[in-house]
Amino acid sequence: MSSKIEELQAYLNTHLEGKFTSSVLALGELTLEIPVRSWLDVCNFLRHDEQTQFEQLSDLCGVDYIAYGKAEWDTHASSTGFSRAVQAASVDPFDFDQAKLKDEPSEVEAGKRFAVVLHLLSIKRNLRIRLRTFCEDNAYPVVPSVVRIWNSANWYEREAFDLFGIMFNYHPDLRRILTDYGFIGHPLRKDFPLAGQVEMRYDPLQKRVIYQPVSIVTQPTVPRVIRQDQPSIASQERDN
């Protein structure tokens, strides 16, 4: 299996030269990173070429790399165990004001925020491959659609559009799919708060269901025993 994938890598290196920026083989999985402009070319090649024949698209998803490597906790494992928690460096998912104010996009290099990741499967050759492309514009991510190459991409691209706001050019029917009718925002983006923006309840006065801003009380996600901003239980008892 692993030798087959190495053969594939070598084959793609010669036949797709210049069409991808990197090909990485890790954990027995081959990942090609492709610039948006040659996205369709590479997909077409992999689908139709005799030697590859990736006739099935297993999965297509978006990834938001804005907070990649920026941990809330500094938790690198070492021989002495885990280090302790540190103050949140990125957006606290429960702090709505902070989430709105934080001007994160400027911190990410242009064209390095949104990626579309594709997993292909070749049934004839029993091989998988992963393709990734980064959208050039962080504010308005666009990628050409692969629906015409693999029809199953239709809903996957709708999902990526819904959850990440990635636009797919030439998609036949780019609508929201998972979120509510009339939903605002793209929930899987890293700057979207975990608890959401609005909540729904029945208003007895208006006699209908209404939306209102979330009223959930901010809850820290870090366990109290390892939080440094809290006075210890012993000192609390002393004060009482």
Binding site: C61, Y68, G69, A71, T75
Partner: protein, 417 residues
């Protein structure tokens, strides 16, 4: 002359044949379907977002709730992705336990599928028959994990605990007398493996019962044969996997082609259909009952003779033994760290796919080195199947839509995530 226009019909989301919360907007020409537009997302719980905010082990329970009729298979996909990134070895006994419970889960799933499917098509008895057998298998779930449905039994590095030596017993109540209790407890006197062996001996005759009711039944065939035909090329093109793909005649099963757990060591066959219609998919799943039964038998036999650890001894990932924690400081620290902060995965990405009862279930895990997933994409088989609904239903009658939904084996927990 009145103007004749296509008629738009709203099906669901609270229709009993919609298998949950499917809303279908059907464009009809008389009673024929011109276009089917499924509206999904009514059960969207944001699993992928929630997972990003918790340590890895705390999300195993979310996996049960994806496809809530094949719980342990979902967990398997998730823990495989974690294990792939961590690069840890799983003890062989745990592999066999996983294989066995995957197959139990497959039977559980197909039982619920046949119950719902036949009820939709009009056969009431199957529903009662299928739930009778489900009861035994859910008891096996309960014996091993304490929960009948949402087990949270698989862990990165193995399974939560070894198979129990005794089965829970029925007790006498106001409605159950001594003799009845004795009869119910008759096959529960030994270990879980004894109980399951008893089940595997009984089950093939139960499958025969189902087949007696359905396979040659005139009404059943009239409703299924030639309905929702998918050619092998279209099935691949639309991303179909599992019985949906095999029903169309493509021999593709990850258990054989890309084996995981102990599947390379057990003997079983892959049933394949020829016509790609709902009836062939029914036959494929019926045969999977028998094959799963075969695999369970082989696993029981192996597990009886090979005691051993069921969890990796890497205590950065799996908790140490309770007894060790009483006297070993290191073990106590490991336990505390694991339960509070969890463990960190090396930065990287992994795609782990398993042959779920419904098709290819996969987890694409992106880690940036933290103790939580950076991104987890769940590839649910039902999502791809439902997206093929429009093509499968076009040109059929309204009542065939129900048969097609049934034969796709849709569960909304995984479609909407």
């Amino acid at each position: 002359m009145p103007e004749i226009r296509n008629f738009t019909l709203n099906f669901g989301p609270a229709h009993p044949a919609a298998h949950g919360v499917l809303r279908l907007v059907l464009e009809m020409d008389g009673e024929m379907i011109v276009r089917a537009d499924p509206h999904i997302g009514l059960l969207h719980r944001g699993t992928e977002k929630l997972v990003e905010s918790k340590p890895y082990n705390q999300s195993i329970g979310y996996m049960d709730r994806l496809d809530y009729v094949s719980m342990m298979c979902n967990e398997h996909g998730y823990v495989l992705a974690i294990e792939k990134l961590l690069g840890i070895e799983v003890p062989i006994r745990a592999q066999y336990i996983r294989t066995m419970f995957d197959e139990i889960t497959r039977i559980l799933n197909h039982l619920l599928w046949i119950a719902g499917h036949s009820l939709d098509v009009g056969a009431m008895t199957m529903f009662l028959y299928a739930f009778r057998e489900r009861e035994d298998l859910m008891d096996a779930y309960e014996a091993v994990s304490g929960a009948r449905l949402h087990a949270t039994y698989y862990r990165p590095g193995g399974v939560n605990r070894d198979l129990p030596d005794s089965m829970p017993q029925y007790e006498k109540t106001r409605w159950r007398d001594e003799a009845e209790v004795k009869r119910q407890n008759a096959n529960r006197q030994g270990s879980l493996l004894d109980f399951l062996e008893d089940f595997t001996n009984r089950f093939p005759s139960k499958v025969d019962e189902y087949e007696t009711l359905l396979t040659d039944n005139r009404i059943w065939k009239q409703r299924l044969v030639g309905v929702g035909v998918v050619s092998p090329e279209r099935a691949l093109q639309m991303g179909f996997t599992g019985p949906m793909l095999r029903g169309s005649g493509v021999e593709w099963d990850l258990r054989k082609k890309q084996p995981y757990a102990a599947y390379s060591q057990v003997d079983f066959d892959i049933p394949v259909g020829t016509n790609g219609d709902s009836y062939d998919r029914y036959l494929v799943r019926i045969e999977e009952f028998r094959q799963s039964n075969r695999i369970i038998k082989q696993c029981i036999d192996w597990l009886r003779h090979h005691p051993g650890p069921v969890r990796s001894d890497n205590h950065k990932v799996t908790p140490p033994k309770r007894a060790d924690m009483k006297h070993d400081m290191e073990a106590l620290i490991h336990h505390f760290k694991l339960m509070t902060e969890g463990y960190c995965l090396p930065a990287g990405e992994a795609y782990a796919a398993i042959e779920h009862p419904k098709g290819e279930f996969a987890c694409y895990l992106v880690s940036d080195g933290a103790n939580k997933p950076y991104r987890l994409k769940i590839r649910a088989p039902g999502f791809a199947h439902l997206s093929g609904m429009n093509e499968m239903a076009r040109g059929h009658m309204l009542s065939d839509v129900v048969a097609i939904i049934g034969s796709q084996d849709i569960v909304f927990g995984e479609v909407d995530r």
